[in-house]
Every structure is written in C-alpha cells, then in structure tokens.
Symmetry: C2
Subunit: 322 residues, 2 copies
C-alpha cells in the first residue's frame, strides 16, 4: 500500500501548545495538546513536543508518511526560522526550524501565530474569498494577522504586525514587552484577569471571586461567573469589549478591512465579549464606515486555523509533488 | 505642429486648492493656486476652479491639448467620482467628476488626497521602489495613504484609510467629523493652532502670541516664533511631534511599513516637527522594530505629490494612446 503524505501543524501558545495531523485535502484528522511552561528552556520544550508528536504519529505510521512540519508561534521570524523574543515565553532567538529539522529531517517552516491563523482563515475559514481582512487572536496575548489584496501582510525585514502591542493607555498596565499600556494587557485572557483585580479593588462588597486565589481565576472561570450574573465578572467583559472595540475601530479606520475575524480562548465567551466589542466598534467608527465592516468570531475549532495555516505553509509544496 | 497632450492635476485642500499642468514624462511645468472657502457651494467652487484652469491653459494652448483631469480631494470616493463629507469643507456627496466632465469634456478621475500623494510618491518620490510605505499629509487635516505590496490600499466598498480620524484622546478635542479626540485635531496645521491656545491658557506670562488675534495665528507664524525661541510656539511643536510620533508608532506596529513619508504645510517646519516626531516614534516602537522603520519628509515641493499622483490616475491611459 502506498502511504499518504501527512503534515504536522503546530500552534505554540503562551499557555498551551496544540498540534494536528493534516491530510492533503486540508483536513485535520487528529489533534492533541500539551501545556507550554513559560520558563522552560527551548530545547527541553522541543524534546517534549517532538516525543509527543512521534508517540501520536505511531498510530498512523502504517498509512501515512510524516512529510513536513509547519509551526505557528509568537514572535516567529519566517525569514530565518527563529522565534525571537515572545513576550509570554522566556525564549530568546531560538533557531526553532533548525532544531526541529534535526529531529524529523523533513521540510519545516515557521510563522508568527496570528499570521498562521490568518492563512488558515483565508484557506479554510471566514476569510475565504475575502481580499482584505484582519485576524485577531485573543489568547494569553493578543496577536494580529492581516490579509491585504489576497496576500498576507509582511515586511521585507521580517517584522510582523503586532497590534496587541499598540499602546492604548500610556499610564496603564505594564506589559511583558517592557512597555506600558499595550492593548494585550487589557484585551486577552491575561488582560481580563487583571481587569477583574482592578474591579475588585474598585468596588465595595464581596462576590464569589473574592474567595478564589488569583492564580485560579481563568478566563473560563470569569466567563462562568459572568453567566451567573456576578457583577464583577460581567463588568470585566464589558470593559474588555469596550477597550477592544475602540482599538479595532482605530485599526479599521486606518486599514479599511472588509472583515475582522476574532479567535482564541477568550472568544469562547461568545456574546459576553462580542456584544460590547461590536457595540463600541460601531460607535467609534467614522460615520460613513458604520455598518460596512463586520466583526465575526471564527467558525473553526480553537487553534485549528493556526494549525491549518501553519500546515499550509509547506503543504502546497509537499502535496504538489505527491 | 502636432500638439502634445497635457494632464491637469488638482489638489483640493481645506485652505488652498493647487493645480498643475503635467507632461507625458510626469513633469509638472506650471502650477497655480486659489483659496478654498470652506463655506462655498460646490458648484460655485467648481466654476471658479474651471475658470482659473482655462485662463492659465490659454498660455499653453498653442502647443498642448488639455487631455484629462485628475483630482485629489478629501473624502473623495474614486469608485463613484464623488466627494462625500469632507470634515474641513461643507460639501455633501458632490458629483465632482460628473460636474468637471460637463465643463471640460475630457477623461476625469478623482481620488482621496492622501492616496493621491501616496501615488505621487510611489511614481516620482521617496516611495519609488518601496513596496510597503505610508504617506501622512499634515495640512488643514491629517490624511493617510498606504501602499502595500506595491499597490495602493483600498477597500472594495470605496472606504479609504483615514488615520487622521483614529481617536487618540477620547476626552480630548472636538473634531469636525463630529467625534472627539481624533488625531488630526492635534497633528495638523489646525491642531497646532489649538495647542497654542491650550498652552497660552496653561502658562503665566505673555509672549508675542498673546498680541496676535487667533485668526491670524497660522502654522507658519508658530514656526517663525518657535525659531525665535518663543516658549509656547516651541512647546507647541514638541507637543504636536509627541502625539504624532506616538500615533505613528502604533500605526507602524500594526502595519510594519518600510517607511513613513510626511508631507503637507506643517512639514515646512522641518526639524521643529520632525525631531520630536521621530524621537517619540522610536521611543514607542517595540524593541525589535527600533531603527528599522524610517520617517522621512517628502522631497517633493508641497502639494506636488498629490497633483502628480492625481494626474497619474489618468495619465497612463491618455499617454498610452498618444
């Protein structure tokens, strides 16, 4: 029996790393995940990841050849195959592609995580057939990927769009990047946790949140409490949506996309986040822009657009020869 | 003798309207201007402009045929040939192209003024050979034109980039667009005049500026006083540069251009404006972006990039057949 080719798509996040096995038709038929430890050395992380991929691949090795690996990661430089200085993982110019290639000996490529998600949305998601759109990933941080005229925006020097690091409040929160007031310190899973703290400090009285240690307060927990009408959890979503909506309005006025696609863990909260985001987005647009730029939540399973996008980096090359 | 073809390029600004006669080689060999009255009806304005063009053209009519007109204007919609609702002129959906065509009976096109300037810079200026750059016009308002991958950014619905209307201070100055805190209420010839007022209110003591009615305080006058070390005029440039530099850093982080080109009346002040702008731009960039994105003042005469850019809208078509 001739084995089919298979591409591994990997999405390295600040909290979790997810990978999937992708067929020629772009279908991901298996996925798994492991936690990312922000303080772990890159070589230890790569060993863990490789072992996990190898173990899972064994179940499919009778029908498939592992033919390539596409990686999505924060602060990835697609030109030289490195991960530079991600703000949520303590790595510094890791030669990621080289290290993975040494282990698997297959074509390997890397790309900024939000750009991977934008590629995935363009090939298989809500970006299909759209020439100008922006993807915003709301995970541990906030990432941005931009399609213009049917092409992923990139700078010849390898710089990529980092909308999460635009400064929205110069007197605001300290960011992992070393600066103050970056959008991602507000609009991200980490940001909404900090907002909860601020609101607890602001108001009198105690709610469920006061009984839980901060280390256990996750975006998911804030979501669950907001659904139960916890006033602080509910206001935290309103506040996050307001900051995000206003920032997206400024971005849309500058770059006139047809659509903005939101994805990542925080979007699991659906309307809790989307309703205030869209309200403040529309409110802050110029009059003649109103109603002309859509904000939508990705229709793909979480992490899948980045996995498929990363995979698509090399899948065309691999499958073309198959 | 066979007459040469000539294109008229027009740049309609909030204060002045400039036009030029352009040859096939892109050289503008004659230009003239008239004031724009913000309250004048569009048809009266068009009559004045047409008469002025006709009068000036008479001197060249023995050697040239007037073969086309390209117009740069604020809030111009290139798809339907209208000027929608410019914030500094009181027009509302003027069918500008149709009205001009009725008078001259030649191919006529219109484009947003900052996009025209970006086209001009791409064809003849500092944008030559650059794939990704942003042009910022600092005149009565603040306009933006963006080139990505060698193409002018535009939205299929006709929306154009209006970076001047991104909100930088939601508790700030009222903008002609009806919203509050738009960048152009600070970083423009109008903005710096308002900054002078704020600084006069803030400080004790009187300077030269206190003896001049506000209606006579122009960007040029503030420039001249700053050179003479008037403390308020000097601080007004520092403040304008700080706000502009910070906003451009956010824009650059989002869109990773190779270069930002500044032009328009306010850039006549050269280093008075450029020094604080570049300082705050660099200071507010992400670490790995520092030193990689240039801010430059256009090397073309004021208004010329928009005139040539507007002309280039149709010149290729006209001269191709000549």
């Amino acid at each position: 029996m001739v084995k089919q080719k298979l591409i591994v798509g990997v999405d390295i996040g600040g909290t979790n790393t997810v990978f999937g096995f992708i067929q020629e038709n772009g279908k991901c038929f298996f996925s798994n995940s492991m936690s990312t430890h922000p303080d772990e050395e890159a070589d230890i992380f790569i060993e863990r990841l490789s072992n996990k991929i190898k173990t899972d691949f064994r179940n499919y090795s009778s029908s498939y050849t592992l033919s390539g690996i596409g990686i999505a990661a924060p602060m990835a430089n697609h030109l030289n195959g490195t991960i530079e200085t991600p703000s949520n993982i303590k790595w510094n110019n890791v030669k990621f592609v080289e290290m993975i290639k040494k282990i698997f000996s297959v074509p390997t490529a890397i790309i900024n995580d939000a750009n991977a998600a934008a590629l995935g949305e363009y090939e298989y998601g809500l970006g299909k057939g759209i020439k100008n759109f922006i993807v915003i990933t709301l995970g541990t941080g906030l990432g941005s990927g931009i399609f213009i005229n049917g092409n992923l925006l990139h700078n010849p020097a390898g710089l990529t769009s980092e909308f999460g690091h635009t400064i929205v409040n110069p007197y605001g929160r300290r960011c992992n990047c070393g600066r103050i007031g970056c959008l991602e310190t507000y609009a991200s899973a980490t940001g909404i946790r900090r907002t909860v703290l601020e609101l607890m400090a602001k108001y009198n009285g105690e709610t469920e949140l006061h009984k839980i240690p901060f280390s256990e307060i996750s975006g998911k927990l804030i979501n669950d409490l907001a659904i139960k009408n916890d006033p602080i959890a509910a206001e935290a979503f309103q506040y996050t949506g307001e900051i995000l909506g206003k920032a997206l309005a400024n971005l849309a006025i500058s770059f006139v996309p047809e659509k903005i696609i939101l994805l990542g863990g925080l979007t699991d909260s659906d309307d809790l986040l989307l309703e205030p985001t869209c309200k403040h987005f529309e409110k802050n647009l110029l009059e003649n822009y109103k109603g002309k730029i859509k904000i939508q939540k990705s229709s793909m399973e979480n992490g899948m657009s980045a996995i498929l996008g990363a995979g698509s980096l090399i899948s065309k090359e691999i499958f073309r020869n198959s």
